[in-house]
Amino acid sequence: MNVIEAKNVTKIYKPLDFWKKEKIVAIRNINLEIKKGEVFGLLGLNGAGKTTLMKIFLGLLKPTSGTVRIFNDTIENRKIRERIGYMSELPYFPKYLKAYEILDYFADLFNIDPKIKKDKINEVLEIVRLSGRQNFKIKAFSKGMQGRLGLAQALLNDPEILFLDEPMSGFDPLGYKETRDIIIELNKKGKTIFFNSHILSEVEKVCDRVGVLHRKEIIDVQPIDQILKKHKNLEDYFINIINDEKVKK
């Protein structure tokens, strides 16, 4: 069963200044299906359009053409947004607020029952290994801890799909491992995870399938196990496929 379906999605940015005419094609004719319960990694060079595609899935950007269906519905539907979680790249939180206050705010946005809110917050803090830090102000948090708090807010509603934009960005090697373990644990609980990343070694360890977005288009989608049969690792596959495309062009 597909939980995300993109059909012929194209996004063209209009120039910000009205006197300029040049339009920028961010992504072109994207067709992609994400299955329930899988971990899907979207790979691509800087500026390939990965974040644009994720933002279109989330309704933060509107496609110029094409359609996106999440749970066979549109993301505009509030009920659908109740079923998803999202963490942006390098999430930022006001430094004078406490971790608990931030999660309390997001819990209210999810309309979580006040009776279970405290337990829910403690539960997600435990998942991201921030238990005992709920009363710390954000200014005392490292970049990695802020990243984990970003993940915690995305888990408050017990989402069926998690969208993670560069979830390991800015982390140290220990942070990579911790995030990877969290993703694996969440996937074991049946959650679908869609994420963008540059850190291919980690993608290789957690993903079921990967897609490569290059020069605005999806040029390949394959299960990880098949890739690893033909290539020594994901990095090798990625460099080969990008170089092949260069030759074709």
Binding site: K55, L60, Y86, F93, Y96, L97, L109
Partner: protein, 257 residues
């Protein structure tokens, strides 16, 4: 409703925990304290000067509270991109804008209240009557005008693409808001039809903040401190705020992040 309150509470907390606003309060205390010094120099009008200076400080610092609060919000939303994690939650964009409006005006209200209490204490020390109804109504007028400016600020924040642009337009609105009524009064002297029309447009579009300027009239016999007049300015502010918020939501709904 719960989501609106959550956004309002979050913005209020964020503003109040921010040290920039604390500095602002210290400045307000200093300036009201300074009024004591001025009144020492002018013995015969000391209470009057204390009131004038205090009310003037409150209106200026309340406006600066709005500017700083808006700057903090816009910086975090646009530069640090915090808005995307909020907008994807099951909250409508209208709820977000309304929550933000209430969060900012609650901050302004608390700042005004804090400054007003200090002013009342200062007036009491100088031997004046701190419970003068005109004083209360003047401060209420300042709060209403700031509520209108908050709605304008939110509107500007969704139509402009940069923070400095938004703040500059807000300052223009503040200045023009106090000037349009004077321009309107001088309009009969203007022969150029284009200028005449521009004044008409400005008079309709820019909020008439002079309506709320009761602080300059507390020592006069103007009949502005009547129930009818207060009802008029409350109605004007509600209508203006509603129009601005509706326009803000319409544009914000089309915005991409």
């Amino acid at each position: 409703m719960r989501r609106i309150l959550a956004v309002a509470e979050y913005i209020f907390k964020q503003n109040f925990r921010n040290k920039i606003l604390n500095v602002l309060i210290i400045f307000a205390i200093l300036s009201i304290g300074f009024s004591l010094l001025i009144s020492e120099l002018a013995k015969e009008v000391e209470i009057r000067m204390t009131k004038d200076f205090g009310l003037f400080s409150i209106s200026i610092f309340a406006f600066l509270t709005l500017v700083l609060s808006l700057t903090i919000q816009l910086f975090e939303e646009t530069e640090l991109k915090t808005i995307s994690m909020v907008i994807v939650k099951p909250i409508t964009r209208a709820e977000f804008i309304i929550g933000k409006f209430f969060g900012i005006i609650l901050t302004i209200f608390m700042n005004i209240l804090f400054m007003f209490i200090i002013l009342m204490v200062v007036i009491k020390i100088r031997g004046g009557d701190p419970w003068d109804l005109k004083l209360f109504l003047s401060v209420a007028g300042t709060f209403l005008s700031l509520s209108i400016l908050t709605s304008v600020a939110l509107f500007l924040s969704v139509i402009t693409t940069s923070i400095p642009g938004c703040i500059i337009f807000l300052f223009f609105t503040y200045i023009l808001g106090h000037l349009t009524v004077h321009l309107k009064n001088l309009q009969y002297k203007i022969t150029n039809q284009l200028v005449y029309k521009i004044i008409d447009i400005l008079y309709i579009m820019v909020p008439n903040l002079e309506l709320f300027n009761l602080k300059d009239k507390i020592h006069t016999n103007f009949s502005l401190f009547t129930f009818d007049y207060i009802l008029l300015i409350i109605s004007y502010s509600i209508i203006y705020i509603l129009i601005m918020l509706i326009l803000t939501v319409i544009i914000f709904n089309k915005k991409e992040f």
